[in-house]
């Protein structure tokens, strides 16, 4: 049986926004209004009681690190920013969209733990490197291995072959994907996120996180996701199926210009923020 093409995988994957879709559209409509205010956006979010509670808990967590306690959605949006709230909703909707994936090859909870920790790492590295929009790197990290879930969901027989080969020959999971399919999970993610019309820098960062030097247009962002994935694999926070810590690309490390002694602080930051982020995204 021939492996599916990338286009076939993308077409077979549901494109709806899940239960957050109407809320996200309503926020977009409010933002487009000339009378738009933080209060209007807060009114939209407050219609979802669960989301409101989670957003407030999240805003008061170590991840956000604000020195004052936030008690209203308006305050939370004002300090976090509307763009970040939208990114959080996007991330929540993607996690929800893949909630039905089988645990046969990889524990879905463990998969998202790995992904969330990679997102936290991406944001911390972006902050350390003083990059603009560190929250965008959180979303890139969160989605970096989404192609693997698409493969399990849409091509389970090929996924089985991949995992068998990976176990039998003790090779990297990504190498097994290339041998069975002719492409890997990052190619699948790139095609999917492109079809969902995600920002190009995010699509390229996710689509090149194993070969960050090969993508000039998003070299730094891809290097951030690459290092984040490396650190989180080394920390063993969750797993996207890979048993080894894949090698760190020396060019990616050089691109980021981070000093080795910053690694301890980043690892500590991931540990400090992980519980709050997990509660925000995986508590439903």
């Amino acid at each position: 049986m021939n492996p599916p093409t990338l286009d076939e995988l993308v077409l077979a994957t549901p494109s709806s926004l899940g239960s957050y879709g109407p809320l996200m559209h309503e926020i977009e409509r409010a933002l487009a209004s000339p009378q738009c205010s933080l209060g209007m956006i807060a009114d939209v979010i407050e219609k979802d009681i669960d989301l409101t509670a989670r957003l407030l808990r999240f805003s008061n967590s170590a991840y956000c690190g604000f020195s004052t306690r936030l008690s209203t959605v308006t305050e939370a949006i004002g300090l976090i920013g509307i763009q970040q709230v939208q990114d959080l909703l996007t991330a929540s909707s993607v996690i929800e969209r893949f909630s039905g994936v089988s645990n046969e090859f990889v524990s879905v909870k463990s998969f998202w733990q790995h992904s969330l920790a990679t997102g936290i790492a991406g944001r911390l590295i972006a902050m350390e490197r003083r990059l603009p929009r560190p929250d965008r790197l959180f979303v890139s990290g969160l989605l970096h291995d989404i192609g693997r879930l698409v493969l399990i969901l849409q091509a389970p027989k090929h996924a089985q072959k991949i995992f068998e080969l990976y176990k039998k020959e003790r090779i990297l999971l990504r190498e097994a994907e290339v041998r069975v399919l002719g492409y890997d999970h990052q190619n699948v993610a790139e095609a999917l996120l492109k079809s969902w019309k995600y920002p190009l820098s995010l699509v390229l960062a996710v689509g090149n996180h194993h070969n960050p030097s090969g993508c000039e247009a998003a070299r730094v962002e891809a290097a951030v996701v690459h290092l984040s994935d490396h650190l989180v694999n080394a920390m063993r926070v969750g797993s996207s199926g890979e048993r080894f810590v894949p090698p760190l690309n020396p060019q990616a490390w050089a691109t980021l210009g981070i000093k080795p002694d910053a690694l301890a602080m980043i690892v500590r930051g991931i540990d400090e923020q992980f519980d709050a982020v997990q509660e925000m995204f995986l508590s439903a």
């Binding site: 170590a62 063993r236 540990d271």
Partner: protein, 99 residues
């Protein structure tokens, strides 16, 4: 750690009030403002014992071997690998159970 004195910039603008728990994010903000030292105090908890420093030799050897085996490529001559290995080893000694 808790900030023990208000942290202000050169224009006397309050960056972090005293009593605030210092997080990685706030350290980033301080770096961005060029603040290179602040007064802190510990949260009142006794210093935790670093289990790596007190680990029996055979347990340390097993842990070292386990951590090394998890890396696809382990090159001690690479300063980045050497530092990360040290960080992960210490973390594993102190947090043996995965999240």
């Amino acid at each position: 750690m808790v900030v023990s004195e208000d942290v202000k910039n050169i224009d006397n603008m309050l960056l972090i009030p005293s009593g605030c728990i210092l997080t990685a994010r706030q350290i980033g903000i301080l770096q961005a403002w060029g603040v290179d030292n602040i007064e802190v105090k510990f949260n009142g908890e006794p210093d935790k014992v670093d289990k790596l420093d007190t680990m029996p030799a055979d347990a340390l050897e097993r842990l070292t071997s386990d951590v090394r085996a998890s890396f696809w490529k382990a090159d001690d001559a690479d300063p980045v690998f050497a530092e990360l290995f040290k960080v992960i080893l210490r973390r594993r000694a102190n947090r043996p159970v995965a999240n």
